[in-house]
Symmetry: C2
Subunit: 197 residues, 2 copies
DNA sequence: TAGGTGATGGGACTCGGTCCCATCGCAGTG
DNA sequence: CACTGCGATGGGACCGAGTCCCATCACCTA
């Protein structure tokens, strides 16, 4: 009997991703996902708050890792390096063995605006975590908000490049490169003298 | 008879905001909004793609204005000043007479994460419009993305400050101040030498 | 062997959203 | 003054997401 087989949550996640890839997000019903995992609709909603959330399970752990990395960095570390530390804390989630899953997940999300909304919400929470951690270190309000936004942009770009089908570079290398590039752009942007009002 | 009274779209928007303020977003049904506007559920969905969208009607016009402002700026204008031009293009939407509406709208959105998701999506589209317009002017990819993100952050901050209950400053003044502050922070962030890998 | 506990199954229900068709009001036309 | 075409509305059937409640099952412990 299907009841009491292990890891119902993980089974649901796998079933959902497979069905989303096969038939698309909208054409897939929650009952269908549950069926494929040998469970029911009730159980699905006991493990996930809604249909979208089945694709975003790891995001909370990610945010925790970001905050922790910034908080435990040595005193006096520059903001850019704090961002680097945060991005690297995500490395365990992006090993080469998860490359295919990451690519599929990205494809599914890219095809549906509901899922994009959810991803943006997760990123906003990520930015909030980063900004909070920076504020705890004494970074002024606006500087913390900007750095958090840059960090999230860097993370999103790095994730996108890592998940590219033909990518072979490891995530940490990509993250460093993206962050360095963004830092340079920030310098350019900040150096421009604003026109007199 | 209620049929054929003018401005059904605007009536629906007013009815929705009023009910959201009174009972909250979730406790309000689409049928209830339509009733209050003297219309039906069918008509509601003929004017708005979904329940959330009734609060985000102006966002598309906003994005158009942003793109237009950047495209029509004099050649050679610095990126920061292009962002300033874009933010000022939004000024007509934020006259003092709309202050109360803006404040109510913000309160409703702040209380519901579904609405926050939609707002984030709209802002992402805004960022995409800005980045596209900057690319058209020859701004390199990464610089355009960063500048767009900064622009959206500036807009969000300016809108939030403008909609504060006790705010009396006009929107353009706030926008300029926020942007100047962010430019300074970008300079700081970019000036930090990254630690050697 | 008899509970006790936590996870699951299952069904009823509400509401968002889609679809289709009948209906209405307003032209314009003869 | 009818007739007709057109666009907007009303209304009902329908599906799926999500909630709620309760019965049921498997495992553990006394």
């Amino acid at each position: 009997m299907a009841r009491w087989e292990p890891n119902p949550r993980e089974r649901l996640e796998r079933a959902a991703l497979a069905l989303f890839v096969e038939h698309g997000y909208e054409a897939t019903t929650v009952a269908g996902i549950a069926d494929r995992a040998g469970l029911t609709k009730s159980t699905f909603f006991r493990h996930f708050a809604d249909k979208r959330e089945v694709l975003f399970g790891g995001q909370d752990a990610l945010a925790d890792g970001f905050g922790e990395a910034i908080r435990t960095a040595p005193p006096g570390t520059a903001s850019v390096d704090l961002l680097a530390a945060a991005l690297l804390a995500a490395a365990p989630f992006f090993g080469p063995e998860r490359h295919d899953l990451g690519r599929q997940r990205r494809t599914v999300i890219a095809a549906n605006s509901e899922l994009q909304e959810r991803e943006l919400l997760k990123r906003a929470r990520l930015a909030a975590v980063i900004a909070d951690a920076l504020r705890e270190r004494g970074t002024p309000e606006t500087a913390a908000r900007l750095a958090a936004e840059v960090g999230v942009l860097a993370f999103g770009t790095a994730y996108a490049r890592w998940a590219e089908p033909d990518n072979r570079q490891p995530y940490p290398q990509i993250a460093h490169a993206v962050l360095a590039e963004l830092r340079a752009c920030a310098a350019d942007l900040g150096a421009q003298a604003p026109a007199p009002a």
